[in-house]
């Protein structure tokens, strides 16, 4: 297809503003999907997306409309998946910015709009859900123009629910998004924006072609490692994969090349014809910057290799988490993984368990710290076990994030109180029209990442939204809070926290352990300590009684099965110093903070 007949755009918005639903309408209207096979939020094809009702992965789909080829990418709105958005932007020339008419501009509306503008995309603002009785389109227009400085003349008014304005959207995409540039006759240059592993076909590489073409039989190379491959199939998403003869400059699609190993494909890499040495790589993606880390270990140590394979496969399809091997005294060999947020962490864990068939033990999440040692060396500390002896620490630094909270002006007081309570500091306050204020403040990441969002939501009666970016590492009075079970420190349970909150944190953790570690054949002492000083203690009394009185004569099998079941329950536990610790215990360190998952 000639370039001037192609349009590539993505839909971006705050969570739940209706991106996937509008995408549904577009697919139906253009006939890309037949009514017969249609279901709501069709592009949310992953089981976890459907269960949670949110988009997690960006997905591309090709539509034809009035002689034009339109490639649409639906993106997630949740801040934890913003890496998906930033990659999708690289595959497009335009972005449709949706704003829920009743909610108005929210934090990810702002964040995603800026991402699109920075990426040089043609941004088309649109007010969605206009059929709602609570719709306030004029207010939204004001927020977009004064707050975001967007040109709102001819703003689209649509409803993904009723289908209102869908033709206008298509028309606007054709008229207001520029066609892709590029040279179909030049040597091929294509950007890998995503990938997935298929058991039969190996790695499926998702690409945006910038110059030249990709077709079956062609020999290509990955510029980052110069490995060469012969293309076995090219195709597009409709939204199922569909073979085509050629993918040419300006188009989005996929190819398969008998890639059975995972190490060659890297999201952000450029594909060029084999042997070509003069190809300039397409600018790739910034590396994701994980904010929270946790250890992921196989529940039984012989599953380590399976876990590694599973993580590698998943990483192909989610380049936004990081992983590297680590070992723990308590848990053996596993991986330290980094995530963009707690929801992201939970999703990765779920995808691993579901699709990899390995039981995993996950440690409580923490953030990364920095330590300046007495020899002047600056070290990254990804987990408490890496901390040097306190005598060798000159300065202990924690990560600080700059948080922007958008909320009604009357909620700013309570939010400020919360921020101060969480060791945060005020930076500035701006107005985004009469009903919206932006409060900017700096917060320790460790205070923000766990339950701050929930607390902020309740402080603003649900109206507040937030976005954040990493600011850097700053000195703080931090300590390593050691957790001892039966007098042995369990490295996987220990945490780093602020000295002031250590006693409270210690008690919380011990109580959580008390609830999750089952009574055993002996009493178990639980202690929290800073250095050698015990600051909290609890205990788990010994199991008093566990004996089946009657064992009906001949039915030995049943008795044995009951005992086997009892034993089975222990499989997911780890022996630490003779104490069996169930996997929930490692997470329970989060205690009530784990409510974050009920976020939506």
């Amino acid at each position: 297809m000639r370039l001037e007949h192609i349009r590539n755009f993505c839909i971006i918005a705050h969570v739940d503003h209706g991106k996937s639903t509008l995408a549904d309408r577009l697919l139906l209207r253009t006939g890309a999907v037949e009514q017969r096979v249609f279901r709501d939020q069709l592009l949310d094809s992953m089981d976890i997306e459907r269960e949670r009702g949110i988009t997690i992965k960006a997905s591309a789909v090709r539509m034809m409309w009035q002689g034009k080829q339109i490639n649409l990418i639906d993106t997630p709105g949740h801040v934890d998946f913003s890496y998906e958005v930033s990659r999708a932007l690289h595959a497009c020339e335009g972005a449709l910015l949706l704003v829920d008419a009743s909610q108005g501009v929210e934090a990810q509306t702002v964040a995603n709009a800026y991402l699109a503008i920075e990426a040089g995309l043609d941004v088309i603002p649109a007010i969605n859900k206009v059929e709602l009785p609570g719709a306030q389109p004029e207010l939204v227009i004001d927020q977009l123009s004064t707050g975001l400085g967007l040109d709102t003349t001819g703003i689209l008014r649509v409803s993904g629910k009723t289908g209102l304005g869908v033709d206008d959207v298509l028309k606007a995409v054709i008229d207001r998004v520029r066609p892709p540039e590029g040279d179909p006759a030049a040597p091929t240059r294509a950007l890998i924006y995503d990938a997935a592993y298929d058991d039969y076909r190996g790695v499926v590489v998702y690409v945006r072609v910038f110059d030249g073409t990709l077709r079956r039989g062609m020999k290509v190379q990955f510029l980052s490692n110069l490995s060469e491959w012969e293309i076995a199939e090219v195709g597009v998403f409709r939204p199922e994969m569909e073979k085509v003869d050629v993918l040419s400059a300006g188009e989005v699609g996929y190819f398969v090349a008998n890639l059975k190993t995972l190490e060659h494909v890297k999201v952000g890499d450029t594909i060029a014809p084999a042997k070509e040495r003069d190809v300039v790589p397409v600018p790739g993606f910034k590396d994701p910057k994980p904010l929270v880390f946790c250890g992921i270990y196989p529940a039984s140590s012989q599953d380590f290799d399976d876990l590694r394979k599973a993580i590698e496969k998943l990483h192909l399809n989610d380049a936004s988490f990081t992983f590297h091997p680590e070992s723990s005294e308590a848990l053996g060999f596993g991986f330290r993984c980094g995530f963009l947020g707690l929801l992201h962490m939970e999703i990765v864990q779920q995808r691993l368990e579901r699709h990899a068939n390995v039981d995993i033990i996950q440690t409580a999440p923490n953030v990364t710290y920095e330590v300046v040692t007495t020899d002047g060396e600056t070290r990254r500390i990804e987990r408490p076990a890496e901390l040097p002896d306190p005598a060798h620490i000159k300065e202990f630094r924690e990560p600080i994030v700059r948080v922007s909270i958008i909320a009604p002006p009357e909620a700013i007081g309570p939010v400020m109180a919360l921020v101060t309570d969480r060791r945060g500091t005020f930076v500035k306050q701006d107005y985004l029209g009469p009903s919206r204020t932006i409060l900017v403040c700096d917060l320790p990441l460790s205070e923000m990442v766990f339950d701050f969002h929930d607390l902020m939501k309740s402080a603003t009666r649900g109206y507040g939204t937030m976005d954040y970016e990493m600011k850097g590492f700053f000195p703080a009075d931090l300590v390593r809070l050691r957790i001892l079970v039966a007098a042995d420190e369990v490295d996987a349970l220990s945490v780093i926290c602020h000295r002031e909150v250590a006693p409270r944190r210690g008690r919380e953790i011990l109580r959580a352990l008390q609830k999750t570690i089952p009574r055993q054949l002996f009493e178990i002492a639980l202690q929290a300590a800073i250095g050698g000083k015990i600051i909290a203690r609890e205990s788990i009394t010994a199991l008093r009684k566990n004996v089946t009185a009657k064992c009906y004569g001949g039915d030995v099998t049943r008795k044995r099965k009951l005992l086997e079941k009892q034993k089975e329950g222990k499989k997911r536990m780890r022996q630490v110093g003779g104490v069996e610790i169930p996997q929930e215990a490692f997470l329970s360190v989060l205690g009530s903070r784990r409510e974050e998952k009920k976020r939506k």
Binding site: L521, V547, T548, G554, T557
Partner: protein, 372 residues
Amino acid sequence: MTGPSLYVHIPFCETKCPYCDFNSFAVLGRDVDGYLDALRREMDARGVPGDPPTIFIGGGTPTVVTPEQLARYLGDITARLRPDPAREFTVEANPGSLTREKVAVLKEHGVNRVSLGAQSLVDRHLATLGRVHRAAEVEEAYRMVREAGIPRVNLDFIYGVPGMTLAEWAATLETAISWRPDHLSCYALIFEPGTEFHARRSAGRLNPIAEDRELAMFRYTERRLRRAGILRYEISNFARRGEECRHNLVYWRNGEYAGFGAGAFSYLQGRRTGNERHLGRYAEAVRGRGDAIATEERLEGEAAARETIVLGLRTSEGVDVEAVERRYGVDLGGLRGTIGRMRGLGLVAPDGPLRLARRGWRVADEVAAAFL
């Protein structure tokens, strides 16, 4: 070890007790004779071991049937055996169901041990347990058996009954001891899935006693009976020296037995089978193919060895691990760590055969599971 022991199941009771998950049914309106026909057919078809070291007739309540029916099935059994007065021959009986006439039938057929389902000697607890007999009848039945000259009598008791106090349980034990029985089985009440008790507890209509109180009863039982010269030889079984139930020991030692009747289990040549529990299906299966096997399991090598250890751990004699290794031709060196840990915790005896130490009994399942 000699040949397999013999078990025969009589699945009838006067009424069904609300805590009981045995294969038993209220006798009223049941075709007992039809069942006894099927039982005989099964014995014919499968063949009864001719010289079993022990016989145990259990149920249900084997004595709930008429004296004629009792004589009939006992005759059916003994007719197939080489007579041996020294062989342990136990029949279970419930106090309410026993008459002089029935005791005479037992005696005539060579029964030399009666196990009486007393359950409690406090009427209130008997009522809670849904038992049809009363405390006074227990003593009557006990005397009847003694007077008939049946040499060995066991009394079955249940403690930990909702509402039971330690003092009440202690008083029950005192009375029982004063009768000078040679064997007592004292079981803690279990809320078995599928029973009425289980459902009532789930619905909050029946409150189990506190764990600590039950534990106190468990400990008290052993201490008190030991003083009376009645020693624990299995978690819930106590006997004067030499009066242990040899049939039970066959089970704990993972020995062989052939079981007949609905829901009966057999363990022969490494194969454990369970009969059809349902009376109609049992009779039908026997009529059709001679046996009524519904479940089957064969454990070999290490699995069988481990099971033998788990069973043996229920007894005070314990298990000789090396003998188990020889018996199954396996190496159980892998258990050494577990044994060491249990010894360190003082839960199994520091030396000699693998057996529970004093502190180990109350957590016997926890210890046993570690060996599976």
